[in-house]
Subunit: 252 residues, 2 copies
């Protein structure tokens, strides 16, 4: 496992549970690498020159912007190597080995929260059928939701995930800050957040849309914008998203 961050940690633990033998963890920070290595009973290194050549598979799970730099330091004699990025094209790996692929789990990972891999879509891609079959088998050992996805589809999935997950979570943060400033508990809107996410499991999101914008209730929107003048950094987000919802409705 090359990388000791969120994705790598959750993957390593999931593989460890299914009895896979994790030989070595590489992490740039000693404490991250050691802590993950301890939890899956593997060795660890903080320098890629010490990378084992004994592994059957190398999983590179590092931020996209250092991936190329990390790959340049890897010497694995054509062993199978994959990255876990949602956005980086598979072919960046072709300089590192003749056998390569992608192993992208479509989920949001936080160190302090366990996830059950069973339902997580794992999107795989490989340079040939043999490697694809290997990754397919590996992915199926942790997930019941394995998809073969090419690099172009994968970036689309990642963008959709950024909207639906990262940006939604930021909207929760805004709600939290607004409530906190008024001494109201964020707990009050937790059932609402839960229901909103549950509703789209069975309803197309556009059919589940509620609120002042979709009703074109300009009076409420104006009242909200007035209150939001205390929060100029959030007011423009309220304005742009309300406008988009109204325009979206008119376009249909």
């Amino acid at each position: 496992m090359i990388g000791a961050g969120n994705v790598s940690s959750h993957l390593a633990k999931a593989f460890d549970k299914t009895g896979k033998n994790i030989i070595q963890i590489f992490g740039r920070k000693t404490n991250y690498a050691r802590s993950l290595a301890e939890s899956v009973s593997s060795g660890f290194i903080t320098n890629l020159s010490k990378l084992t050549t004994e592994a059957d598979l190398y999983i590179v799970s590092v931020p996209d912007n250092i991936l190329t730099e990390v790959l340049e330091k890897i010497n694995i004699q054509n062993k199978l190597i994959v990255h876990t990025s949602g956005t980086v094209e598979m072919k960046v790996l072709q300089k590192t080995s003749e056998n390569y692929g992608v192993f992208y789990p479509l989920q949001t990972f936080t160190k302090t929260k366990n996830v059950d891999f069973k339902n997580i879509p794992v999107c795989i891609e490989a340079n040939n059928k043999i490697n694809l079959d290997l990754l397919d088998e590996l992915a199926k050992s942790i997930s019941e939701n394995v998809k073969h996805v090419n690099s172009e589809q994968r970036v689309t999935l990642h963008i959709a995930a950024v909207f639906a997950c990262n940006f939604s979570n930021y909207l929760y943060t805004i709600a939290d800050e607004i409530l906190e400033k008024h001494d109201l508990s964020f707990d009050l809107i937790k059932p609402l957040i839960q229901e909103t996410a549950e509703k789209i499991q069975t309803h197309k999101p556009i059919k589940a849309q509620t609120g002042p914008a979709i009703r074109e209730d300009y009076q409420t929107i104006e009242a909200h914008l007035k209150t939001l003048s205390k929060f100029p950094e959030f007011k423009d987000i309220y304005e742009i998203l309300s406008k988009k919802i109204i325009n979206h409705k008119k376009k249909k």
Copy 2:
């Protein structure tokens, strides 16, 4: 029940379940009023001049922008009247009756999806202690989560709800459209949406933030913006929300 839309329908059914006697439904559209009336075994009217004077409580659940107009047509001789709006001040009711209040269930309601009121926060307010006690008792008959909230706090709650629910749902819609255009199923990101909403039940949202923006991964952001040039109507939302997340992080 004055109104036969989403909020009114869900409330009427919840009250009916607890054995409350719903005498009359008013709806501007005959089919909506009749259908709701049938499901709770009540009468219905489509003209407010026929409003019963026999009820103990009148619940006005209509869009904010027609509330004043509806109230002007109501003649109930100082019976207790409440509205269910998140944003309208309680005192708009004082011309209609000497006994008034607010009964605001903080949830997103869709006609085709049942909700369990038990965990829904019901925010109440009243013009005096007697009426507040009456509303408190009524609210507690359907919910275990009853809060006394004044008009100013209520609009804050409503704004937070718009961000966390209405806007998040719109982001799900964007994800859905992007995936659809690329022949990818929205089902693929449903586990992610579920996990994102679940995570904040136990984690402060800012601590749960993941994705390219919070990592300041400009390379991925650029790659996404390039792909999003096919979706100009969504590209600016990606840009503004990414910037806000990056600035938010720097501010802390």
